[in-house]
Amino acid sequence: MALLTLPVAAGLTMILLPAFGYLPVLGSEAASLTPFRLLFAQPGLWRSAALSMASGLVTSFIALSVVVLFLAAGRGGWLDRGIRRLVSPLLAVPHAALAFGLAFLIAPSGLVMRFVSPWLNGVNHPPDALIVNDPLGLSLMAGLILKEIPFLLLMSLAALAQLQSEKRVEIARSLGYAPTVAWLKTVLPTLYPLIRLPVYAVIAYATANVDMALILGPTLPPTLAVSILGWFNDPDLNQRFMASAAAVLQLGVTLATLLTWWLFERLVARLFRPWLTRGGRRRGEATLRRLGRMGLTGASLTAMLSLAGLAMFSLAGFWNFPDALPQTWTLDHWQRVAPMFGGALSNTALIALAATLMATALVLAVLENEHRRNIRPARALWLLYVPLIVPQIAFLFGLVVAAESLGVAPQIGLVIAGHLLFVLPYVYLSLAEAYRQLDPCWLEVARSLGVSRNAAFWRVRLPLLAAPLCTAFAVGLAISIGQYLPTQLLGAGRVNTVTTEAVALAAGGNRRLIGVWALVQAALPLVGFMLAAALPRLLYAPGRILPRKAT
């Protein structure tokens, strides 16, 4: 586990040094505060930082509320089951693809406007309204929320499994509490500590993300992470000092946001304690239930419409503004892109499979080790989260320089190692709970029949965990497929994956080709999740018991 922090530490060091003026190749060897002084003189800097912080806090709060209300209000039924099945595929859609789709959906010349013009509002030209790239970052926040909801839902479902939530709600209901209120009062306080780390990861991502901010975020000034990317790539090579200082600032902003959230947690805990014990049983039941249903359904619908818009564009000929559908359809775009699929797809698959296999193997080894020695690792969990909380942009550039200094050429091996760093936490998160709450009786029975510990691991534990294992593997694949900055920087642009191709096209604005690539990018993890759902059933004959929780 501690090995994970090494690359991050190395990357951070190589950023901290230039931030304080030490960059020998540009001729500057004296430590100084000039980079920071230059940084603070940049116009709009504090606005960028504030935007990053605000999007971190607001999106996490809304996403968390939507998820929590949905879980509280869900009472079985087709909607509930349908949404739960949608979660994994929606999680798998990479950020850039969803951002493109959303940008097209809500733009003044976008899908929604095309459906309602001109018969509803008599408009023949798109209105001049700043929706996408708006200065307050609202469309960016919308995009972030759409991506955060499936992740938090997945983590919550995994954590719920160990809480016996059904029982708690039953007891509360027998005392007269309405179902939604009951869930909120009995399950939520115990659920939150279990999903606290995923929430922190979500906040960190929201404050420092680049992919979505480039497409949906405000532009003058952009969020801090986008500014940093621009400064690192500035042709004026002396800007790198300031860029390194800005990366340090980004780290500070992320930490400040996390601290603010933590304070907020304390405040909420203090304020709502009387609410828990006051005894109100029905107040707000109907509203909360309605909000819970609508919230997640609305989010899923928006996400699906975004993807549908992209699909239409990938097949569209010229599409004039007020028309609800393209005037002509054509397979041209798919045909033009098809020859380029081969290389990108094989690279993506190779990297994703290699990184996820290694991650899964490592995670299983660690979890098995914990189980055998009865360790409950709290500190290890924090170490695991380091790559997720430190902004990618803050240490990846430094990591590139560190790799160069060690003489490691940019190539696919380095990219796989980089992906491993980011996939590992997610695989661990997906697998840990299921692993721990597997009934130890099965293993005891196996051992009592004379089987060694390793054999018990391979022949009893793994098959019993087939389903969570496949899901964790699929999550790992999805994460690896969606990575952009690590592939781009560690591979020096030589390793082209589906995501790097899609983002490279983003600058070109050819929405039809972007649609093709974004769909391919979204479809890949989907395949992974479908396999994950089907494989356990295929591998083991029906009728075999697959217990999941200790009752």
């Binding site: 010349s109 030209h125 798109p126 790198r240 010229f318 503004f321 320089v401 490691v408 642009g493 050819n510």
Partner: protein
């Protein structure tokens, strides 16, 4: 149990060694000496079998399509395996070469050939990051006739001195939707009037995009009536006094731009897709054939027409250069030479591939070579044939940076 542990440690040790070995192997290959550019046979011989990493902006699908054709040709003709590394921004590659120099990597760089011009070239020359001189030794270089066409050896007023090889020509060309308007503006002053009459129907790409920056330069050149100071380093003149008319002009223009000047599209192709979406009626591009190819690709309506401003528009030549630490210089030189060949230049100019103009002096080619360049001229979206004779030269590259910074100061934050 003590007996089980060795297996696990062995596994971990094995994995780590394997990973380290995989990472270290490529760097064990010994670097070879590059043959001198004027010993062309030796260059070709060394190039055979090399892998050249060509870093070129990958944001436009038609450029990528042409480069794909080049890749296939290089494999067939010279046995060189070219990999197109798609860049978001050329400065990414410049930053990478710098990072390699910082780490002391002087002979195993990751960039073999780079599509470059303007301030990126100036920056690399200043930091001694380029290999050369090599361009004038390329066999096809003579076809550009540099004596009669000085723009192929001048990059934004800086003499190239053989450190980069010319590739194509670009010129600012405006295009408009004739269904929305049939009196497009023919000068910057007329543009302001047009924008007042059609608010929200024109904009320019966000600085520091190169197309947007060129719009600034175009405006400045026209407003200052091609003042000589623009072709000298910016430090030699009173920047504020020179650019005052530009800021006045932009202050007057911005309220009538798309989104009232509060947001700008990120690049030239984005500008084009805004017009395709019906959000703009007037736009411009660096490539005269941009609109015509876009109509063919369903991105713009067939009613689009192109033209050049009456007083002339900025044009420049773009080049390819070789970083000093490339391990495949022979292959890179072979590629640069092929890019200058008549067949490659003709294919590049063809509307079916890219449409970027040639740097060769077509009038002085042999008949067979000239025949490759015949193009059907009845595409209504193409600019008129004589329009491209009216080219204004680029100012000194230091003006680019200065203008970009000043624009960001004035308008970078709302």
């Amino acid at each position: 149990m003590p007996i089980r542990r060795p297996w696990r440690s062995l596994l971990i040790a094995g994995l780590s060694t394997g990973l380290c070995a995989a990472l270290a192997l490529p760097s064990l290959a010994a670097p070879q000496q590059t043959p001198a550019p004027n010993n062309w046979d030796a260059v070709l011989k060394r190039a055979d079998g090399q892998s050249v990493y060509w870093n070129a902006w990958g944001g436009d699908s038609r450029t990528n399509r042409y480069i794909g054709w080049v890749v296939r040709q290089m494999q067939e003709r010279y046995g060189v395996d070219v990999e197109h590394v798609k860049l978001n921004d050329t400065s990414n590659a410049v930053a990478r070469v710098l990072a390699e120099k910082q780490a002391g990597n002087n002979d195993d760089g990751s960039v073999d050939l780079l599509w470059i011009n303007g301030e990126n070239f100036a920056a690399m020359r200043e930091q001694h990051l380029l290999f050369g001189p090599f361009a004038e030794a390329l066999p096809h270089f003579g076809l550009t006739r540099p004596a009669a066409n000085p723009e192929v050896v001048t990059d934004f007023t800086l003499p190239v001195e053989g450190y980069e090889s010319p590739w194509g020509k670009a010129q600012i060309t405006f295009y408009y939707n004739s269904a929305d308007t049939d009196t497009p503006p023919r000068s910057m002053a007329a543009l302001l009037e047009w924008a007042r009459a059609h608010p929200g129907r024109f904009t320019y790409p966000r600085i520091p995009d190169f197309t947007g920056s060129t719009f600034l330069k175009q405006a400045l050149i026209e407003l200052s009536e091609q003042d000589d100071a623009l072709y000298q380093p910016v430090s030699d003149s009173d920047f504020d006094a020179m650019t005052a008319p530009l800021w006045d002009y932009l202050d007057a223009l911005h309220p009538f731009l798309w989104r009232r000047g509060e947001s700008f599209p990120a690049s030239g192709p984005r500008l084009r897709s805004l017009m395709g979406d019906g959000e703009l009626s007037l736009a411009f591009s660096f490539y005269p054939t941009d609109a015509a190819v876009a109509v063919q690709e369903y991105q713009l309506p067939p009613s689009v027409r192109s033209y050049v401003l009456d007083g002339g528009t900025l044009g420049n030549v773009h080049f390819v250069a070789i970083p000093y630490n490339s391990p495949h210089k022979a292959g890179a030189m072979t590629l640069a030479n092929f890019l200058l060949s008549p067949i490659a230049q003709a294919k590049k100019q063809s509307l079916d591939y890219w449409g970027d103009r040639t740097v060769l002096d077509v009038a002085h080619l042999s008949d067979a070579q000239r025949a490759l360049f015949e193009t059907p001229a009845d595409n209504p979206a193409l600019p008129p044939v004589d329009a491209l004779a009216n080219t204004l030269a680029e100012p000194h590259p230091s003006w680019m940076n200065a203008l970009q910074e000043a624009w960001l100061e004035h308008y970078g934050v709302n």
